[in-house]
């Protein structure tokens, strides 16, 4: 018989300086038996049910249930035997929960004021799936989430490139998802990140309008879109087979080819409906960024004539309200996507702010608060945190930039209030004020200094050729300047409007027959082939011609005004002289005001 040698039992390393758990008696023996795999949690099948909570992926009527460990549930119940038993069975989770409480406590003591945060622990693939759907498990089905899942999140992992794992969803309470395989010190850091973000969600002005039950709202949209495709399939089934397919196509908004396929028995009604909805969503996704939900829509009457002084920035809202070709179900979908984009826009506008704020507090709480120290993994933790700051030659690392800004700000403020009796408190107040009123662009505009840019070794780069040659594959990107002012200018240009070009509706009757005129507020060239295809999509949603006034840079460095036109099938381009046209418009206005005001074309 093989006899296993009896090894002395080594207790698992205590987590930092935390108090040891008061578990005694039989519970202790169970705790000693728990498998410790380098500080990671046991695998999912080992958890008992009371700890697991359901995550529903998909929509309510067609959902797929996955399980997550709800950390907060370990808390509280001194009188609840079930929870007490869980605490005995899962000492590593209890430890993690203690860390969670420690972190929240430390954040509050340090002056942060976050929403409550629900922490969930999920397996890697579930986490990545959540990340690909912007953190909402119940989201309308679309292949592009799957593409995002693989190319953006899964592929780098398969290739051995490390990518960070935090999914934090705004709402009340804020939901934060952690990956079960991450080591404990990483989870601790991510918890502090989540708390700092929760603080931002509670206090930053740009998150004020957010629905506290955002995930419920998004899940209701998912159900609605699911309902839409079911209805569509039903209608298709109940229609008499004699009805000409062209008529069905105009009534329901389904392609004639698909109707034919359904009638020949090549595709089921459900498949046809699902595919139709999916393809329509594709079209809307390509224009989803043209949203401004903060101001109410302006009345249509204003746009019978070109109104360059008071344009409408909510292009998608304008299209939803006034398009003549959208079917009711299409209108619903456009509106849903518009609302979702609007709800997500604060996150895209506060990237540097949020990342910087999170890193800043992570560093601060971890180094200054001895209760948060994890001495057994000190170097690993430092290394793990530092990986966020890997510089990229062709991108800006928002974590590093944001962190540098807040760090520099803190130093400046400490210098400024050096003689103040309550210096630290004053500095903290100032910092909290900045996180309250800022977004990316204002942060860069007001608080980025020359010193920071030099510390970060930042530069501007440009392609060696301008114009179309600069968009071609293989065009060389060369460092053009290290000048602080120019770098700041470019950063502002790139982060303005959440990184999206500003495009607005100027006229809804450009040729006198319901043509839409859009104006690109020129800060930089649009990507040409993309702009053309997007314009085609927009023209299909609008139903009439769509014009886009923008500028294009030739090989010479002067941008020239051009007007792109699309009728929904193709795009043509013409140059024009804006000053001449404006003069003509004004002259026309004068004539109209003087004479008969009714002759305005049909308009819509």
């Amino acid at each position: 018989m093989h006899v296993r040698p009896i090894l002395p039992t080594i207790p698992p390393p205590a987590f930092g300086c935390m108090q040891p758990l008061p578990a005694k008696g039989p519970a202790q023996s169970v705790a000693n038996e728990a498998p410790h795999r380098n500080g990671t949690l046991p695998r999912f099948g080992q958890y008992a049910r009371p700890l697991l909570t359901q995550l529903r992926f998909g929509s309510q009527s067609a959902s797929r249930v996955e399980y997550a460990v709800f950390l907060n549930r370990l808390d509280g119940g001194e009188n609840n035997p079930e929870i007490q038993r869980q605490r005995q069975l899962y000492p590593d989770l209890v430890k993690l929960n203690e860390v969670r409480k420690q972190a929240a406590e430390a954040a509050r003591q340090a002056g942060l004021d976050p929403f409550d945060v629900d922490f969930y622990v999920v397996p890697e693939d579930k986490l990545l799936e959540l990340a690909s759907q912007d953190g909402f498990p119940e989201r309308y089905p679309h292949w592009s989430w799957g593409q995002e899942f693989f190319t953006k999140y899964k592929l780098p992992r398969l290739q051995g490139k490390t990518v960070f794992t935090e999914v934090v969803v705004p709402g009340q309470p804020v939901q934060a998802y952690l990956q079960d395989r991450d080591p404990d010190y990483a989870k601790k850091a991510l918890m502090i990140h989540a708390l700092a973000r929760a603080d931002l969600y509670k206090n930053n002005l740009y998150f004020k309008h957010l629905n506290p039950g955002l995930s419920q709202e998004v899940s209701s949209y998912a159900s609605l879109i699911r309902h839409i495709s079911q209805q569509l399939a039903q209608k298709l089934e109940t229609l008499a087979p004699e009805t000409p397919s062209a008529m069905v196509a105009t009534n329901l908004g389904i392609d004639t080819a698909k109707i034919e396929a359904y009638r020949k028995g090549k595709a089921s009604a459900e498949d046809v409906a699902n595919e139709t909805v999916e393809q329509f969503i594709e079209k809307v996704h390509s224009v989803r960024n043209l949203v401004d939900g903060l101001t109410p829509l302006k009345p249509l009457a204003q746009f019978r004539e070109p109104t360059r002084s008071a344009p409408e920035y909510d292009v998608l809202g304008f299209v939803v309200k006034h398009s003549k070709v959208l079917h009711p179900w299409q209108r619903d979908i456009v509106d849903i996507i518009r609302r979702e984009t609007h709800a997500l826009s604060p996150r895209t506008r506060t990237q540097i702010l949020a990342d910087g704020w999170a890193c800043f507090w992570n560093e601060k709480l971890n180094t200054r608060n001895p209760k948060m120290w994890d001495l057994s993994h000190f170097t690993q933790e430092a290394r793990w945190s530092a990986r966020k700051f890997r510089p990229d030659p062709v991108k800006v690392n928002s974590y590093q930039l944001g962190y540098e800004i807040f760090k520099g700000l803190e130093k400046d403020l400490q210098r400024k209030y050096a003689d103040h009796p309550k210096r630290d408190r004053k500095v903290l107040e100032e910092l909290l004020k900045i996180r309250k009123y800022s977004y990316d662009v204002s942060l860069i505009r007001q608080h980025l200094t020359k010193e920071m840019v030099e510390n970060l070794l930042m530069y501007n780069y440009d392609p060696d050729k301008r114009g179309e040659a600069g968009q071609r594959q293989g065009a060389k990107l060369l460092i053009s300047t290290h000048d602080f002012e120019k770098i700041r200018e470019r950063l502002i240009e790139m982060y303005e409007n959440g990184g999206q070009p500003v495009i607005s509706v100027v006229n809804s009757s450009f040729d006198g027959n319901g043509e839409l005129l859009l104006n690109h507020v020129y800060a930089y060239d649009l990507k040409k082939d993309y702009a053309e295809k997007t314009l085609i999509n927009l023209a299909q949603l609008w139903g009439r011609r769509v014009y886009l006034e923008t500028m294009e840079t030739d090989d010479k460095k002067e941008p020239k005004p051009v007007r792109l036109t699309s009728d929904g099938r193709s795009v043509s381009k013409s140059s024009y002289d804006p000053q001449k046209e404006q003069a003509a418009e004004e002259a026309k206005k004068k004539v109209n005001n003087g004479g008969n005001n009714n002759d305005m074309g049909t308009g819509i």
Partner: protein
């Protein structure tokens, strides 16, 4: 090899700690939070696309797979797709389907971080129009250390392959199979019919501890205890004995099998350009796919099972022969597989068919006797043989008399009036069952389709050509 089956109701390995836990859970009342019992799938840790129930991902992969299917159905060149590592299918790269939107153009430059002076190159515009870091200066290089537990995460090609869109070659055969058949198929597996295979379906009283069949052993122990103890039998306290153990064991089963061999002959004279070789390669892909899939199905049917992925090519051998004035049988070695060498070797020199056909004759005599093997020959050439066409035709004639299933002559880019083409037509007639000829004019998918149909088509299909 450990053959102990994991306990079915958790999917987890059992060892002492978990047993203890499970016992503790067992004694507790059912939790009120989740009444619904967990099924095996929901709790299991997912480790790949097959475990992954992300329908959005599956849908995206389906869209990509649809394109491959469409291409192969139209006989487009398969060389744009890679074979999977086990050769049972083709895979394509994961193309990013980008949705157009209004966005900043790359000719506007950007901001980056790093060392370097004015005018230094930091990157280039990538294929997707986005800036990419310059080669050798990777922004996100791998950093495995500090990642913690990375178990189960491979980074090789194989782990990537399971995520890629794939089409199996069985499916390809089904896609292109309309109007095709195995030419002149004869059941010839008489001597192979008693092929004996070992199957793990037996029980034994002796064996290694790894092969214990726990269920049977437990049943045996229970039976014995019941017989011995009668009323005192306690199902919760069963003492095992050594004679109770039952072990997994093999039994021998005769498996009937059909065998075939495909000879690919390629002319490697100077005039066989890369384009012509590609034509041969494309046509060969479809020909071999169809034949191997059909034999896989036939052999599975003889076993009385449904064909599975590993049945592809079951019972089919391939031989690759190149020739100019001399012929050579390609062998796999460290320089590459026989197939790889077959398509890449270039020799130059004259053209003579006789040595190649003699090699076929020789192999049939020594290795693949015609009473046991179905034999198919596909011969790719672009020109006329120098003078030995009479003798070559004679060899073919004698082989067919002995029972050769097919001699397919595929001429890549040459006139229909070439000497050997005329010779074959004159000797065997233009619509012979055993000798089929075909002239590919171009490397188009149309010609590839015609070539496959001319070689493997049913009589009706060949009439329509």
């Amino acid at each position: 090899m450990i053959r102990l089956l994991p306990p079915k109701w958790t999917g987890q390995k059992s060892h002492a700690t978990h047993q203890g836990r499970r016992q503790a859970e067992f004694n507790q009342p059912a939790p009120s939070i989740l009444q619904k019992p967990l099924s095996k799938d929901t709790v299991r840790f997912s480790g790949g696309p097959d475990d992954l129930r992300n329908s959005n991902f599956q849908r995206w992969r389906d869209i990509l797979t649809k394109q491959i299917r469409e291409d192969l159905k139209q006989f487009r060149s398969p060389s744009q797709y890679e074979k999977t590592s086990d050769g049972s299918g083709v895979k394509s790269s994961m193309d990013y389907i980008d949705l157009p939107r209004f966005m900043r153009s790359s000719n506007e430059g950007g901001t980056g971080q790093g060392k370097g002076g004015k005018g230094d190159q930091v990157g280039q515009v990538g294929p997707d129009g986005q800036p990419q870091p310059a080669n050798g200066d990777q922004g996100e290089e791998g950093d495995e250390e500090g990642e913690g537990d990375k178990a189960g995460q491979g980074s090789g090609d194989n782990s990537m392959e399971q995520w890629m869109p794939q089409v199996s070659r069985f499916e390809i055969a089904r896609l292109i199979g309309d109007g095709l058949e195995l030419p002149n198929f004869m059941p010839r597996g008489k001597s192979n019919i008693q092929k004996i295979e070992e199957v793990w379906d037996n029980l034994s009283r002796v064996g290694t501890p790894g092969n214990v069949n726990r269920r049977k052993s437990f049943e045996q122990a229970m039976r014995r205890e019941m017989a011995m103890l009668g009323k005192d039998f306690n199902p919760l306290n069963i003492q095992w004995r050594k004679d109770d153990l039952r072990f997994f064991n093999t039994s021998e089963k005769p498996i009937p099998k059909e065998s075939a061999v495909i000879f690919y002959i390629m002319d490697t004279s100077g005039s066989m350009t890369d384009k012509r070789k590609k034509m041969a390669r494309d046509a060969n892909f479809y020909l071999s796919t169809y034949i191997q899939a059909r034999y896989g199905e036939i052999n599975a049917e003889l076993r009385g099972e449904a064909a599975s992925k590993k049945d592809f090519g079951n019972g089919v051998q391939e031989e690759f022969i190149i020739h100019d004035n001399d012929a050579e049988i390609m062998q796999s070695d460290e320089k590459g597989s026989a197939e790889y060498k077959f398509y890449t070797t270039s020799k130059g020199g004259g053209t003579s068919f006789k040595p190649a056909l003699q090699k076929v004759e020789e192999l049939i005599k020594t290795k693949y006797p015609l009473d046991q093997w179905n034999v198919y020959v596909f011969h790719y050439t672009d020109g006329d043989p120098s003078g030995d066409d009479e003798e070559s035709a004679a060899i073919i004639k004698s082989l067919i008399k002995q029972g050769l299933n097919l001699y397919g002559y595929i001429q890549t880019e040459g006139s229909e009036n070439s000497v050997f083409h005329r010779k074959l037509n004159a000797t065997f007639g233009p619509r012979d069952k055993f000798v089929r000829t075909m002239v590919m004019n171009d490397d188009s998918s149309e010609d590839c389709k015609r070539a496959v149909q001319a070689m493997l088509g049913t009589e009706e299909t060949r009439k329509k050509l």
